[in-house]
């Protein structure tokens, strides 16, 4: 669905990507994690075609995004971190924009707004940042585009809205859609994403699906000093040492995205060897 080959990108003199290759398939929700300024948003903007690679090739739905063809743009949607919505009522916004998205469903849009507790008669400019974001997310999902890119979607959402967001996204995914969510608020996406890609300095530090991670890594509390020393990552807590270790005994352990992220960033090579060595 999306293939990125040998992507090079720079902002003036600052190099962001230096030969990045990556692919995204339909039917998945991808979590794009990384520190601020590592290129997550830049990657999404390259995929939607608002930025152009200086070298390399991106193919999305068979189109070259940089050409910004209407046929591609009506099947791809981006919810940017800094977004703009015109100063109109929700009804007007929908009547002006929905005709451009052939798979838009008014019924779904109404359902999502209800889920988010947004009154439909409101004007967008009267709304808070979080409410506007929920309208945009509802619209994006109701467009039913094959590609949905979301940059820090949970930023600005309150605690209740974050869980509503997870519920809405989980219900909206199907086998034909590819959702890529870029975030550094990893806790917000737990139990939602099914593949995790961690980017740092324009390189992929880690790219694995949730099933492989849970079968090959263990996230738990340990009181064993020897085990703690050998762990990929350890963190002291009131309950003991929270560690990330190879899942040697095939035990069930809930993935802690924050710990995984820290383990990869601080000890990426060791973490990745587990995925290379084990069958």
């Amino acid at each position: 669905m999306i293939t990125i080959h040998n992507l090079h990108f720079s902002y003036k003199k600052k190099k962001i990507f230096n030969g990045l290759s990556l692919s995204f398939s339909p039917g998945h929700i991808y979590g794009l994690l990384g520190k601020n300024g590592t290129g997550k948003s830049t990657l999404l903007k390259n995929i939607i075609g608002s930025l152009f690679p200086s070298q390399g090739k991106i193919s999305a739905l068979g189109y070259e995004p940089g050409k910004r063809q209407p046929a591609f743009l009506q099947d791809a949607f981006i919810v940017p971190e800094e977004f703009y919505l015109p100063d109109v009522a929700i009804e007007k916004f929908v009547s002006c924009n929905a005709p451009f998205y052939p798979k838009f469903s008014r019924q779904q849009f109404n359902t999502y707004l209800q889920e988010f507790d947004i009154p439909q008669e409101n004007s967008l400019q009267q709304m808070s940042y979080g409410q506007k974001k929920k309208v945009l997310i509802s619209f994006a999902l109701a467009c039913n585009t094959s590609i949905l890119l979301m940059d820090e979607p949970s930023n600005g959402l309150d605690i209740m809205s974050k869980s509503q967001f997870r519920k809405v996204i989980a219900g909206a995914i199907d086998d034909n859609k590819c959702v890529i969510i870029s975030t550094h608020q990893v806790k917000d996406l737990e139990s939602l994403i099914d593949r995790i890609t961690i980017i740092d300095e324009g390189n992929i530090l880690f790219d694995q699906n949730i099933n492989d991670i849970s079968s090959k890594l263990s996230f738990r509390v340990s009181f064993d000093d020897e085990e703690t020393k050998k762990a990929f990552y350890k963190e002291e807590s009131l309950k003991g040492n929270v560690i990330v270790t190879p899942n040697t005994y095939g035990e069930d352990s809930k993935i802690d995205l924050e710990l995984l992220y820290k383990a990869v960033v601080t000890n990426g090579n060791s973490v990745n060897t587990v995925f290379k060595n084990q069958p």
């Binding site: 608002s50 209407p70 100063d87």
Partner: protein, 208 residues
């Protein structure tokens, strides 16, 4: 009709642009009426006792130049901000379609609206002048424009209109090219270009 050009999409884009900006457009019409009203009011109050229709047209043409340039310089200001830019760029229509929809409002609709506002206010001022003439026909006069006169404003009108097209195009381009202060930067560039042309003509040898 091609993948990048569809009349249906252009009509939809025009509808979207009107729907999302109509408040701003209506406010602009009021501002335009106010601005022209002030200039015409000033002319009516300080124009002496012998009024000339040609002066009204000169006011109108200069107003068209200035307000047209200001309006054109805002045409693509969405591209100057990150959030509006991505909203505009990722919207499912081709660049040509987006340009046509923008041009439709910033040039075509603007020119028609300006003309209507100008003629309305001109008619209003003419009514006022007529009242003055009716009161004191000896003191006040109003000279109508003779469109058959080859030395009047009608002689330079085609050049003025062509220059208006050129200035509009320059300010539209400026609104894409410059993120901030596009109006001022475009004026500076046009002034520099005109100065360059002027010096070139000055230097060129004259044939005797």
């Amino acid at each position: 009709m091609t993948a990048n050009f569809s009349f249906k999409r252009i009509i939809q884009l025009i509808g979207k642009q009107w729907g999302e900006n109509r408040r701003m457009y209506l406010m602009s019409v009021l501002a335009l009426l106010g601005l022209l009203g002030i200039v015409f009011g000033f002319w009516a109050a300080n124009g002496g006792s012998h009024y000339n229709e040609e002066s009204a047209y000169i006011i109108g043409l200069f107003g068209l130049f200035i307000t047209g340039a200001i309006f054109a310089s805002t045409a693509f200001n969405m591209l100057g901000s990150k959030d509006k830019g991505i909203y505009w760029i990722s919207f499912p229509a081709s660049h040509l379609e987006k340009f046509i929809a923008t041009w439709f409002f910033n040039f075509l609709v603007f020119s028609v609206v300006y003309l209507v506002c100008f003629l309305l206010l001109k008619a209003g001022v003419e009514s006022y002048i007529q009242v003055l003439i009716d009161k004191d026909p000896v003191k006040y006069t109003y000279k109508r424009l003779n469109w058959n006169n080859k030395n009047g404003i009608n002689a330079v009108l085609p050049y003025f209109i062509s220059a208006f097209f050129a200035v509009q195009a320059a300010f539209l381009l400026g609104s894409v090219a410059f993120k901030r202060f596009s109006f001022i930067i475009t004026i500076v560039i046009i002034a520099a270009f005109l100065f360059y042309l002027f010096t070139m003509f000055q230097r060129s040898p004259t044939v005797h």
